[in-house]
């Protein structure tokens, strides 16, 4: 069977060749092969980047539904802390004790919700899907640099997810120390039962997840650097590719640090070392560990953890830039400034991590430095926002579902991003740290925004993925319900946060100072659960449209980038003939003098003499 698989050399026209174009003959040879692939290698252990992308997407949807379900469960608890949860016993079993949710299980719920959403949905599901799908198609490559490593990347992710999934059903429960798994809580099973086998599985799962990320990241970077088609210089790349490229660089440089943190924590847990433990008396016993520092773990964790939020949001930024330009029928405003701000964000994202730790007892001078660097990062983010607004200005806007979600993204990114200016200020963080203000902030700016980017991407590239269109009307319903729902959940949450309500609280009823917002919390819970149910409109639309959706045309959005020059459903190798060469930047929309309101990247200037700008005539 393996003999029938096209080798990488055939697909790419040779690894390491700087001009990665297969000749027509070579490719015809390869075409004969892939029709008689065994289904197992075509759909399961596929090395085709498009299939792998779909695998990431569908796995991501599964995890998103699970993550959303968990959040609905804990919102029930927060909205109605006094009422009985007896009716959940058939699902939760022993975690409902005498009609009440077990407080440790509550912590497990928030921990797993965070872990699943941040890593499995918004990292793997978002960047895994679209980096895989779009990088080869948009740079003009037949596949990733290494299809085999790419396949491994998915399967490491799959096994990692499987282990995490199993951990949910353990007798002692899954990890419950928060998604940031700060030791000593995460290191000591005596402190919380979730830190027993559940935590071990969390760490193993995360280690495998990091392997998956690195395999994917190396591939993305190599592909973008080496496998661009003729004429596709870095300054002609669509912003999506710039975003995926820099995301992969961030991941490659920061995930290994999380790996080291996980490894040291495994050592502390299992082999008696004291990297993060010192002076602990717990469960009637003084532990022998001396000299470790829990704060060291936080430094290691956030050295990944902060770039991680940009790993989550940058692919969404890239896709939104692309979709806004396409549907406003206007070039993205300030293409170079957009790349520059992505570079700025990438660079700065490595030196802001300790703003999560202002009040951990870290030296206050360090706090000053990180406050300075953190507030600087607001500048490139502001530039991006203004450029998106300028892109809409005097456009000719088509409200596809993808466009709606992109506009929604910009709105949410503004709303959530601005409060970062408060939290990045160390003096203000004293009060706001770990309150619902933080929860509201990051759910808007990286949670919901990234989800909106994900949805925009799915609606926009669905025709290229499956050769069919998603239903627009259902898409509109999905968008408006979600958009309104997200604001109803997270805007009032700021009020709760300003009032100082701490996060990860099972109930606030014990404190007089946290007693005033019972109604508002009920309201947030209702909105959250309704917004969650609205997502099933999407799930239905997605799976229905794969099989029964309206058939797509080759370029349904009249877009300029290379993926729309492939057949309606591109096969392994993407282009049946030669890979098109690229002559122009990706945003020639509504160019004065041109016949159509878009000129694809593969149209030479010699064919568009009526619309060429003075310097473009000489470029040929």
């Amino acid at each position: 069977m393996a003999a029938n698989l096209p080798t990488q050399a055939q697909v790419q026209g040779g690894i390491g060749v700087t001009e990665p174009h297969t000749t027509h003959d070579e490719h015809a040879l390869h075409d004969d092969h892939h029709h008689d692939q065994h289904w197992l290698f075509k759909y399961v252990f596929s090395t085709d980047h498009k299939v792998i992308a779909k695998q990431f997407l569908i796995t991501g949807i599964f995890w998103a539904i699970l993550g959303g379900t968990l959040s609905s469960l804990f919102r029930l608890q927060l909205g109605w802390p006094e009422s009985t949860m007896e009716w959940l016993t058939p699902v939760l079993g022993k975690w409902v004790e005498a009609g009440k949710l077990n407080p440790e299980f509550y912590l497990a719920l928030v921990t797993m919700h965070g872990t699943i959403m941040v890593f499995f949905v918004l990292t793997a599901g978002l960047s895994g899907t679209f980096s895989n799908f779009l990088i080869p198609l948009q740079v003009g490559a037949r596949d990733m640099a290494s299809g085999f490593m790419n396949m491994l990347s998915y399967w490491f992710f799959f096994i990692s997810g499987l282990i995490m999934f199993i951990s949910i059903f353990l007798e002692t429960g899954p990890a419950a120390a928060g998604w940031t798994i700060y030791p000593p809580l995460s290191a000591l099973p005596q402190a919380i039962p979730g830190s027993g086998l559940g935590m071990t599985l969390w760490l193993v799962s995360m280690a495998l997840f990091i392997v998956s990320q690195l395999l994917g990241g190396v591939n993305y970077i190599t592909t973008v650097i080496n496998l661009r088609t003729r004429g596709m210089s870095m300054s002609k790349l669509p912003l999506t590719i710039w975003a995926f490229f820099l995301t992969a660089v961030l991941g490659l440089l920061s995930f290994p640090v999380l790996f080291s943190a996980a490894l040291l924590l495994i050592f502390d847990r299992s082999f008696g070392t004291s990297f993060f433990l010192s002076d602990i008396y717990i469960a009637g016993q003084a532990l022998p560990n001396v000299g470790g520092s829990p704060i060291l773990f936080q430094h290691l964790f956030w050295f990944l953890g902060h770039p991680e939020v940009y790993i989550v949001i940058m692919p969404a930024m890239g896709m939104v830039s692309e979709i806004l330009a396409t549907n406003a029928r206007k070039p993205i405003f300030g293409y170079r400034a957009m790349i520059g701000s992505l570079l700025g964000i990438s660079l700065l994202s490595f030196v802001v991590w300790a703003h999560h730790m202002f009040i951990t007892g870290m030296n206050p001078f360090l706090g000053s430095v990180f406050m300075f660097l953190t507030l600087i990062i607001a500048v490139p983010s502001a530039v991006k926002t203004f450029n998106w607004l300028a892109t809409l200005w005097r456009g000719n806007i088509r409200f596809t579902t993808a466009m709606l979600f992109s506009i929604g993204f910009v709105s949410l990114f503004i709303s959530g991003g601005l409060t970062g200016i408060i939290l990045g200020n160390a003096a203000l963080d004293i009060q706001m740290h770990n309150t619902y203000f933080v929860v509201a902030h990051f759910h808007l700016v990286m949670g919901s925004s990234a989800f909106f980017g994900l949805f925009a991407g799915v609606y926009h590239w669905f025709p290229k993925m499956f050769g069919r269109m998603m239903d627009e009307k259902l898409g509109y319903i999905h968008f408006w319900l979600t958009f309104i729902g997200v604001y109803l959940v997270f805007l009032p949450m700021h009020y709760v946060g300003i009032a100082g309500f701490p996060r990860r609280y099972y109930a606030w009823t014990g404190f007089d100072m946290f007693s005033q917002f019972a109604d508002l919390n009920k309201f947030i819970s209702i909105a959250a659960i309704l917004a969650f149910f609205a997502q099933f409109v999407f799930v239905f639309n997605f799976f229905y449209s794969i099989f029964r959706g309206r058939r797509a045309t080759e370029n349904p959005w009249r877009s300029t980038t290379l993926e729309w020059t492939t057949p309606i459903v591109p096969g392994h190798g993407n282009w049946p003939g030669e890979i098109p060469a690229v002559y122009r930047w990706p945003y020639d929309y509504s160019k004065p003098g041109a016949e159509e309101d878009f000129i694809p990247q593969n149209v030479p200037y010699s064919k568009t003499t009526s619309s060429n700008l003075p310097y473009e005539n000489e470029n040929e």
């Binding site: 407080p103 000593p184 809580l185 000591l188 402190a191 919380i192 433990l277 010192s278 602990i280 008396y281 717990i282 003084a286 001396v290 000299g291 520092s293 829990p294 704060i295 406003a328 070039p331 405003f333 300030g334 293409y335 400034a337 009040i359 007892g361 206050p364 706090g367 000053s368 406050m371 607001a378 530039v383 809409l392 200005w393 456009g395 000719n396 806007i397 088509r398 506009i407 709105s411 503004i414 200016i421 408060i422 200020n425 003096a427 203000l428 004293i430 740290h433 770990n434 239903d471 259902l474 805007l491 300003i498 009032a499 100082g500 990860r504 099972y506 946290f514 309206r550 945003y587 509504s590």
Partner: protein, 353 residues
């Protein structure tokens, strides 16, 4: 049985929705609207953008005003007034940006919706504009950083020498508090000495610990700087006192600190709020396990005279727990005997060499 009924209803509802959906697709195919690139839906969505801005904006403004009083915990510390002011100034600045950008976003979406025969304006870049909207946020950020940095260094700077010192220790799942007693020195503690009675791990062979006392609520004097020495004996906790705008992690193995000056006594705050039951509260704000949400401790701000009176009434830990003290005395005596023995044995040991 009822569950089955509910499930059946849900399934039937889904079937009905499915049929409606199918019907809608078929009608749109027959009416030809599915073939048109721009149906009425483009206009509807554009209008909805505007409706969302107006209705959403109004709802936000109303709910913010409605909840404003509830969301501001009363302030009772000197630095709290400063950070509160900075918080709301920053909120106003970002609020202006928020309103402007959201208005532009939704108004542009509405105004520049697709129109037949219209073409978008080809406007790929303009360096002057880019420079302007890079520099303006940079200046605003610089101002905010500077203000924040000044306040932050003031708050985290060294505590005044005459500050009242007390130690707050977090454990699963309550707080323990210790005052230095008359000598104003906290005695030596060792986590290996902790047990059910000696919860702090007092090492009473250290004389300065003999007068340390462990009250059941925190008392602090109004108008006087207070230095909290913070530690934890098991996992991470965080000392969080919203009324004083105080928060600091409690870290096992790494003592931390935070100082502040309370400005209102408990009685004054009760009168101000019209709530005779009001008390300042200390909460835990770093996930620490099952009882994380219930680590409450009462704080009472006294007039300085009342504070002195309260302080002088407290009985020290060693006085209240004579057995613990006795056990340390025994140990010490044994140590003395051993030392004496060692002195005697040494010449013999040397001789044997």
């Amino acid at each position: 049985m009822t569950t089955l009924g509910v499930l059946l209803v849900l399934v039937l509802l889904l079937v009905v929705f499915g049929l409606l959906f199918r019907l809608q697709i078929l009608t749109s195919i027959f009416s030809g609207s599915s073939a048109r690139e721009f149906g009425t839906s483009n206009r509807v969505n554009a209008v909805l953008m505007l409706v969302f801005l107006v209705v959403g904006g109004a709802a936000f403004a109303w709910s913010f005003g409605d909840n404003f009083n509830k969301m501001n915990p009363p302030i009772a510390s000197v630095h709290g007034h400063a950070t509160e002011r900075m918080f709301w100034i920053t909120m106003i600045i970002i609020g202006i940006v928020f309103v402007l950008t959201q208005i532009l976003l939704f108004v542009y979406s509405y105004k520049y919706q697709h129109k037949e025969g219209q073409r978008a304006y080809f406007f790929p870049h303009n360096n002057k504009i880019e420079i302007i909207w890079t520099i303006i946020p940079a200046i605003v950020m610089a101002a905010l950083v500077f203000a924040g940095w000044k306040e932050w260094t003031r708050i985290t700077g060294p505590a005044p020498k005459d500050a009242v010192v007390l130690e707050v220790m977090g454990k699963q799942f309550n707080w323990l508090v210790r005052y230095p007693g008359r000598d104003l020195k906290l005695g030596v503690v060792n986590y290996r000495l902790i047990d059910a009675t000696n919860e702090f791990g007092f090492d009473l062979s250290d004389k300065s610990g003999l007068d340390d006392f462990v009250p059941s609520e925190i008392h602090i004097p109004k108008g006087h700087p207070v230095l909290l020495k913070i530690r934890s004996r098991d996992v991470l906790h965080a000392v969080y006192m919203p009324h004083f705008r105080v928060q600091m992690y409690a870290v096992p193995g790494m003592p931390t600190k935070f100082w502040f000056t309370p400005t209102k006594t408990t009685d004054e705050m009760r009168a101000q709020l019209g709530n005779p039951k009001f008390d300042y509260e200390l909460a835990c704000n770093q996930i620490c396990g099952r009882g994380h949400f219930a680590m409450k401790y009462k704080i009472i701000v006294d007039e300085p005279d009342d504070y002195v009176a309260w302080f002088s009434q407290q009985k020290s830990f060693s006085e209240q727990n004579p057995d613990v003290l006795a056990s340390f005395k025994q140990k010490e005596e044994k140590l003395v005997v051993k030392k004496a023995a060692a002195v005697i044995e040494t010449p013999a040991a040397k001789a044997s060499l």
